[in-house]
């Protein structure tokens, strides 16, 4: 089964990547100035207390030892314990990560769908008025900082029109999905960039595929335009689109940090920023590695989609 083997190979490569990323992250966090003990104990500290705290957390061990310890427990699903809150990292970040993932996933899907629409509309007739209008708007949207867009959205939809909530308050014990209205503005703010950026790339892919002989032939055979696009043109753009989608996911996990702050969305933003401030190694490593896994998974999926959609790579000539 070549497909199974292909997937297995790619997963193996992805695993290696994630291991490497974990090591790089560990090193990067290692060189942060100060340490968690000092950050936590704050002003009340004596040197002895500091040393004791460091010893308790194992910070006096060499970095390699700590990394290996971390790695071994990580492989068992234990990402360690937050220095600051004392909770297991997995417990501490599970909910924010889940909430952020909801936001990113919805934004990514919205971005992709609209970017496809934009890409197809503009890419089918490059240089047309519609194309220039869409591409021009995309240019502007990409150029305006996202927190400005978010702020304007709040002013308009929440404070002036009062149709959508300004702040993403999640019901107690619930999730953002229980109150979908709180997702709308953050998603618009996030997706606006996604649509513009991804749309430009998809537009190029569509314009390229649009000149392929099979597409022209399908048109000249009198096939209705939607079918031409759907059956003949779009399949050729799938690999590129899948790649764009993976980039989108990786990018959205970055920009969501800013957007979450604007809307006070209970996601990873707070966790990350306070972990950096408090030098909470375990949380940083944990968040970093989980995000890396999501990103790698996104690229892996894109890669597989790109492969599987192409019968030449999926099916061996019999």
């Amino acid at each position: 089964m070549p497909v199974v083997r292909l997937i297995a190979q790619k997963f193996a490569a992805a695993t290696v990547t994630i291991l490497a990323v974990s090591a790089v992250l560990f090193m990067a966090i290692e060189v942060l100035p100060g340490d968690a003990a000092a950050a936590m104990l704050g002003g009340n500290t004596t040197i002895e207390q500091l040393e004791a705290q460091r010893a308790e957390w194992g910070l006096d061990q060499p970095a390699t030892t700590r990394y290996l310890d971390w790695l071994i427990s990580a492989l068992q699903g234990d990402l360690g314990t937050s220095f600051i809150s004392g909770e297991a990292v997995t417990t501490e970040i599970a909910q924010p990560l889940w909430f952020t993932t909801i936001l990113v996933a919805i934004s990514a899907v919205v971005s992709l769908v609209l970017a496809l629409l934009f890409g197809v509309l503009a890419g089918l007739r490059p240089g047309s008025r519609l194309d220039r209008m869409l591409s021009g708007s995309a240019l502007v949207v990409v150029a305006v900082p996202q927190f400005v867009i978010a702020g304007l959205l709040v002013m308009l939809f929440a404070l002036t029109l009062g149709v959508l909530p300004a702040v993403s308050l999640v019901p107690i014990g619930g999730s953002p999905l229980d109150r979908p209205a709180i997702l709308v503005l953050p998603v618009i703010a996030l997706a606006s960039f996604g649509i513009a950026w991804a749309g430009r790339l998809i537009r190029a892919a569509v314009a390229d595929a649009n000149t392929a002989p099979n597409v022209r032939a399908a048109r000249l055979a009198g096939l209705p335009e939607p079918l031409v696009v759907w059956r003949h043109l779009l399949p050729a753009t799938v690999p590129a689109t899948a790649q764009v989608f993976a980039w989108l996911i990786s990018g959205l996990f970055g920009s969501t940090t800013v957007i979450e702050r604007v809307f006070n969305y209970p996601g990873l933003s707070e966790v990350l920023i306070s972990a950096v401030r408090n030098h909470d190694l375990a949380v940083l490593e944990g968040v970093g590695i989980l995000l890396a896994m999501i990103i790698v998974l996104a690229f892996l999926t894109a890669d597989l989609i790109g492969t599987l959609v192409d019968p030449k790579r999926r099916v061996r000539p019999s």
Binding site: A39, G43, V167, G174, P266, V276, R277
Partner: protein, 518 residues
Amino acid sequence: MGMPQTPPPSTSTPVLSARRLSRRARTLAACGLATVLLTSACGSADATDAEADILRIAAADASGTNGLDPLAASAGASQMVIRHLYDSLMVLEEGQYRLELAESVEPNEDASEWTVTIRSDAVFHNGDPVTAADVAFSISALASPPSNRVSVYANVDLENIEVVDEQTLTIPLHRAGADFRESTLVVYSPVFPAGTTDFAEGVGSGPYRLDSHDDQTIRLTAVEDHWRGTPTVDILEITIIPDATARLNALKDEQIDYAVGISATGAQTIADSDAVTLHNGGLETAFALSFAMNQQLEPFDDPRVREAVRLTADRQALVDTALLGFGEPAADVVGGGLPGYSEAVTARTQDLQTARDLFEAAGVTELTLRAGEILPGMMSAAQLFKQQLAEVGVELVIDETPADTYYAELEKLATHPFQAFYYANRPAAVHLAAVTVETAPFNVTGTTSQYWQDLAEAQTIVDDDERLAAFTTLQNEFYGSGGDLLWGYAYQIDASHPRVGNVTISQGVPWFAAASIG
């Protein structure tokens, strides 16, 4: 957009604190997560109870905890939750020291041992009466790690606390402490059932009991027939919103009814609005903002330089610019407007000529200020002060440090002669005893051993009036030659829906038990 309000790094409220939740709490959290994953709301937040008055409050929090655990709570939302869930022995309310759970707190003749009697009608939310044994347990717990208030109770001889009867206990001290009430019990004394190790249920004897909660929001319901009377508001929903702008937006959008702490800019924006009411906490919840000079380090070991710096400041201008007028000039000693403040302490007025002469005499032409945006407006103030110093021929170099590492640089905190700093406004006696003593973590004003001795002596004076007089002298001394250029008080401005009224301040946080919802 404004920075989230961060709380003061005073001894009694360490900004950052660590503690470990019990195993049970983790299990609960895990269950909570499972619930979340199934996206089935276990809380009743969405259940609209037509009968009940709900007050939705948003605040920032410094501790990263939800306020159920009195050993981990810090300033902000968690403190507010503690205040409503638990009764304390004593509190500072409306500018007064008040007995709450305690019926009396009396010293022996040399103030080395205190006898506390508690009221008999207080009942925990689980139905058990509050006893002296509970108080003894609570004090011991607060005084031992992992509590973050260990330093408040450092002087209590825990081993020898004695429960005399159901309502009475004696608390011996290591050193005589005549100011035990204000410097210890008033600072932090919530009481919880003896034997409590897991605070997930939040069992206290306060006017509200825990209904439900998650990481972000806590829902409290009123306790009927509380000894203070039944609270006027049936349900409090306290949500942690770190960003001041977001809090205000949530309020404007009517997602919440009361925002604790909004930015000066936000306050100015809505000053004329009918849709929102501003609540100015006044001096009781204010932060005292300072440029602290270390008297032990050059050039501030020269009292002329300290005086010159204090005379250079145009305090009103600093308040108007850096705080947009939401504050008032301060007089170099913390505690303005609060009990025991010396009448002799008044804000210095700018006197450039004298300042110039003093600087010249001391030969100072350049100063370096370590500053960061530790509170909104601090950097503006530093910049404006730089310009004011320039008028007297002194160049101020601003060494800017990011707010989030400001307190982490312990070395610099201890050795930098001139730094931006701020304190919670507390009664002068409490402040001086906590901040300017030898053991204080941030002795940024570099108080001397002679001063410490005087302070320690004052703390042992049992007679209230005499002790007050001694502290007044200390204040006057600190005012005359101390190391703080305490240039202003920044009011904490809350905002609410206009229908919310009668919110008072208790222990530095808004008190909603008697609030009215029109």
